[in-house]
Structures are given as C-alpha cells and as structure tokens.
Amino acid sequence: MSYIPGQPVTAVVQRVEIHKLRQGENLILGFSIGGGIDQDPSQNPFSEDKTDKGIYVTRVSEGGPAEIAGLQIGDKIMQVNGWDMTMVTHDQARKRLTKRSEEVVRLLVTRQSLQKAVQRSMLS
C-alpha cells in the first residue's frame, strides 16, 4: 500500500463499529493509536511502507470495546464516522475518536491479511 501524493487511494476495507464504554466520566474505546502526518513513519512497526504516515492500531485492550468490535492490532484506520484519517496529525486523529458527544464510532480499517485474501480469491 504505497501512496503517491495527489493520486487516489484504493484499499480493501473492513467496517468496524465500536460502542464506547463508559468509565466514570469518560467514554473509552480500548485501543491505542500511533502515527500521523506530524510523526516519524519509519518507527511504525506495523506498516508495510515505511513512508506511510497513516494512523495505525498499536494496542487493543483485552475484552475492551474495540476488541469486541473486531479491531486488530496493526490495522490502519482510514476513516472515522465519515472523517478521513489518512492525512491527519496524531492529535487530530485522537480527537476524532474521542468526541464526547459520540457513543458509537464507525471505522473503516484496512489490514494486510484482508488485502492478501482478496488478491488470492481474485487469482483463483
């Protein structure tokens, strides 16, 4: 999944719908993100392309809302509730996921196993 700036991006995506969990005053999703256009992409252990500045899932809490919804470590988040996540800063990404007024977030994520599965089925 290498990106040429200015060119449209195609990816096979999986829909993940996360219902936030209320912990006292807070609504949490139960995972961590890494990446952003203001971050150093060469340190991303999950990306195939080391210039990819996208937002990746770096940790999923066991039994948390994200795990229940099917989010996996290493997933790249493409979109959150209609908002693009491929060209955002780290802080913007965090904000888009943690809006207090939203109890459900609908993510579009892509993962390498998905891409490979689709490629394999297309060849056969």
Binding site: R15, E17, Q23, E25, N26, I28, L29, G30, F31, S32, I33, G34, G35, G36, D38, Q39, D40, P41, Q43, N44, T58, R59, S61, Q79, N81, G82, W83, T89, H90, D91, R94, L97, T98, S101, E102, E103, V104, R106
Partner: protein
C-alpha cells in the same frame, strides 16, 4: 381425490400469478409462468370432472381466488429513516483563514429537515473562519417514511454583528485589535463612534443595531431519496441558494456529508407467525412441528412459540430474499398432506428446498400473503432489505451553546504567532497566576536548550521535573482521555505521559524544527 388436488394446486398457481402481476414483479412472474405452463394440461381436468361434487368444490375455490385477486393495490410497508453525522465543508479564501485579517465575522447556522409532513431542525451552530466544516451532532429520525420518501435538507444562516466578536475578548487584547481593524469594519466603527459623539470611556462600545434580532437566509438545499441511503458515509451535492451580496453568505464548498440509513418495518418486525410442519431432509414421512416467525429476510423456526420471545436460538432458519422462490403445493412429496408450500434457495450450484405444511387453508393463504407482501417490500425498499441498517436513538439535544471556549492558548486569541511573545507570556502569567517558577518547556525552542528528556518512549515515566501542575497551559481535558484508570497514589509513575503527547504536535506547528523524530502512541 387426486384430481381435486391437481385442480386446487393449479388454482393456487393462478392465484399466485395474479398476485405477482399486481406486484409488477416481472422476475417472479417469469418463473411462475414457467410453472404454470408446465401444468397447463392439468387445468383441463376441471372440464373433465365427471363427479358433480368435484366440480362444485373446484368452482368454489375459483371464486375464492377471484375475490382475493380483486382486493386492490398492494402498498409497501413503512420504515424509519435516520440522518446523522451531517457535515458541510467550508471553503475560506486563504487570506482570511491563515492571515487572520480583519475582525472575526460570525454566522449562526442550522439545518431544517423535512420528510413528508414532518419537519425537524438541528441545533444552531456558530461559525467563523476558524472552522473548516460545519458539523452537526444531531441524529434526526423520521418514523413514518415510505420507500418513495423525499428528505429535503435546508441550510439557514444569519450573520452576527461584529460587536459580538469583540465583546468576548479580554480588554487588553481588544485594545490591540481595535487599533488594527480591517478596512470596511474599521470605517463602520469610526462612523458609529463619530455618530455616538464623544461617549468617552472604552472605544469598544458600539451601538446596537436598529433592527431587533438576526435575519436568517436560505443558504443551500438538497433533496435525498432512497437512492442516497447506504450503511456508510456519503457525500451529496448541495444547491447553493445565496450569493456573495447576501449578508448571510458563507463560502460553502458545495457538498454535504452524512450517514442516511433506513429501516423498513418488515426488517425489524415479524410479519407472520404460526405453527408449521417442516419436512425433514430425506425423510419423506418425518415432519417436525415448529413455530415459524417471518421477520426480515429470514423465516425462523423455533421449537416452541415462547422461544421467539425469550431469545432462544431457533432450531433452524430459512433465508427469504430477492432470489428465493416460493410455491404453494408440491404434489409428489406431499401425498396426503394438504396446505403445503415450498421455499427454494439457490446456493451456488445447489438448490435447497424446504417444504412446509400449514394448519389450514386459511393459514396457507396468510403465509402466502405475508410472503408476497415481503417480496413486494423488498422490491420497493431495495438495498435497505439486504441487511438491517443500525439506527442509534437520537442523543438528547443539548441547549445551544456559544462556540465553546476551548480553554487553550490557541483558541483564546488570534495574533500573528511570531509577533509578540510578550503578549503570549503575559496571558500565560494571567492564567497561571504567578506560578511559573520554572520556564515552560516550549520556551526551550527559543533558547536552543533541551528542557526535557526525549519524549520518544511512550511507556516511560513522566518527565523528571516535579511539578504541581503537569502542563504549563493546563488542559485538564487530556486526563480524561487516558484509558489507564487514574492512579491517585502520590509517587506512582504514570504509564502514559500526557505532556509529551500534547507538546510535540503543537510546538512543531509554530516553529518548524526539521523532520519529526517521534512516533507517539495514544490510548483512546
């Protein structure tokens, strides 16, 4: 006996065919026509009835069928339509957005949504040039929609007077701004001051407008129909209604993004239920008794009626979708069993057929009627019947609030960043009191001295300098976002350090210090 069964079966086929005609579902009709042609010969049996009672019975059935056929047009079921996550992108001229010229124009906007006779409005949002999109948090639900619905969306806006923008700013800042107003508003302010004639005191005092209250103008509109419904986010075109001369004109990009979903009632409510006897695969004589519930695209067969309510798993489920074929009566397998129907589904190369027996002729008619209504609804609601689209109950409406004061340095003022460091530190001093004994970390950018250890390792302990306040410009909001439960024991290290997360992106925005060297991780 056999003849009578033949006749009844063919009359049923005729009945079904007529119903399909009224549904104008040519696909279904083609299949049925084929069936009928195959059995056409058997119709002649009626004429060949030698027994009087056979003829009587047959004629009676025919009459019943006729009356059913002339019952009238079928209408599709109602549904719930919900629109949410509405977002309208704005397109400011770069001179306005980046260079912050002139005073801050503000607009009040809201959306009116109309479906049929029902009109709902969204919350009112205040817009100024710091926003890139107008984003509404509302979930708007309409409950009585038909598949031919038209959802009209109208965006209204009203321009707010300049006095509102300046009134909120702290006095010292306001003084700075008033001496550098933009050309047109500056002229207006001077004119009003001259007309007010030496009122003295603060130059910020402006006269209230003569007309009471803001005037809303229609800025844009569009109409959404079933074709726009999808279980996902889509962008639609807006028809712009006002032009630049209009006082309320906003630079709209011309699109609206939203999530528009529809839940037809046939997908969420059961449309038929009753006792059925299902023929087991391969066992011609073995028929299991079940309680069938037709809901959405499935016929659930439960062991007993109570199971449907208690949430027990059904014994098995038969799919009913656009490709399913339903027939009344299948003679060969149902010798001695009247009132049967078959449901066939194609899975790749295989065809799976279930044969069901209903309790009576009336029951058979009810089931057939329910199935035909379902097929009709599916043909009308189209993609809404592929899978149930989720609708969240609309969140309670918050009272309209002014553009929320974010409580951060950035949102409090709009000055040239490299301009006046004295003003920045002044404001900081005001907010923190006299508490800045240690210089704030970002000041290190000026002095070229590293003030803090490298924030690269996310799992590390919080920075060494002990502080009563973890951050120089206190953003309490950050703490609430940590997934780690707050540890109140005094000396315990935090496994997530909020300070490095918040500091790096913002400081880099202002002072470009080369390529990013961190790869931060944040819990959400």
């Amino acid at each position: 006996m056999q003849d009578r069964l033949h006749i009844l079966e063919d009359l049923n086929m005729l009945y079904i065919r007529q119903m399909a005609l009224s549904l104008e579902d040519t696909e279904l009709q083609r299949k049925l026509d084929h069936e009928i042609r195959m059995r056409e010969g058997a119709c002649k049996l009626l004429a060949a009835c030698s027994q009087r009672e056979q003829a009587l019975e047959a004629t009676k059935s025919l009459l019943v069928c006729n009356s059913l056929m002339t019952r009238g047009q079928r209408s599709p079921c109602r549904g719930r339509v919900c629109i949410s996550d509405l977002r309208i992108p704005l397109m400011w001229k770069d001179t306005e957005y980046f260079k912050n010229k002139g005073d801050l124009h503000r607009w009040a906007v809201f959306l009116l949504l109309q479906l049929g006779e029902h009109i709902q409005d969204t919350e009112m949002i205040l817009v100024d040039r710091t926003l890139t999109d107008i984003s509404f948090q509302n979930n708007v639900l309409f409950t009585e929609a038909g598949p031919d619905f038209e959802l009209r969306l109208e965006l209204y806006g009203a321009c707010m007077e300049e006095e509102g923008a300046l009134a909120g700013a702290p006095k010292r800042l306001a003084t700075k701004l008033s001496s550098s107003l933009g050309r047109s508003s500056g002229r207006r302010v001077r004119a009003s001051l001259e007309s007010a004639g030496g009122l003295g005191s603060s130059p910020i005092l402006l006269p209230t407008p003569a007309v009471g209250g803001p005037r809303y103008h229609l800025l844009a509109h569009t109409t959404l129909t079933l074709a726009a419904v999808q279980d996902g986010f889509r962008t639609h075109d807006l028809t712009l209604a006002s032009h630049e001369e209009n006082p309320a004109w906003l630079p709209l990009y011309g699109s609206v993004c939203c999530r528009l979903v529809a839940q037809p009632l046939c997908m969420t409510q059961p449309t038929a239920n009753g006792t059925l006897r299902v023929q087991q695969a391969g066992e011609l004589q073995d028929w299991a008794r079940v309680h069938g519930v037709l809901k959405g695209t499935s016929l659930f067969c439960y062991r007993q009626p109570e199971d449907a309510d208690t949430g027990e798993e059904p014994l098995f489920t038969i799919a009913i979708n656009k490709e399913t074929r339903v027939r009344a009566g299948e003679l060969d397998q149902t010798v001695g069993r009247p009132f049967t129907l078959t449901i066939s589904n194609r899975y790749g190369e295989d065809e799976v057929t279930h044969t069901l027996q209903t309790e009576s002729r009336g029951a058979l008619h009810s089931w057939m009627e329910a199935l035909w209504q379902l097929f009709f609804d599916m043909s009308q609601w189209k993609q809404c019947c592929d899978e149930i689209m989720k609708i969240e109950t609309p969140a309670p409406r918050k009272t309209p609030q002014v553009l929320a004061k974010q409580g951060s340095l950035y949102h409090e003022m709009a000055i040239e960043p490299l301009d006046d460091i004295a003003a920045v530190t002044d404001i900081l001093a005001q907010r923190e009191g006299a508490r800045l004994e240690t210089p704030p970390p970002w000041l290190a950018m000026f002095t070229e001295q590293p003030a803090l250890p490298n924030p690269c390792s996310p799992a590390s302990v919080a920075p060494a300098p002990a502080r009563t306040h973890p951050m120089p410009w206190g953003r309490p909001r950050t703490f609430s976002l940590d997934a780690v439960p707050p540890d109140h024991s005094p000396g315990a290290p935090r496994s997530v350090a909020p300070l490095p997360q918040q500091r790096s992106p913002r400081s880099r925005g202002l002072f470009n210090k080369g390529p990013p060297r961190t790869w931060l991780q944040s819990p959400v």
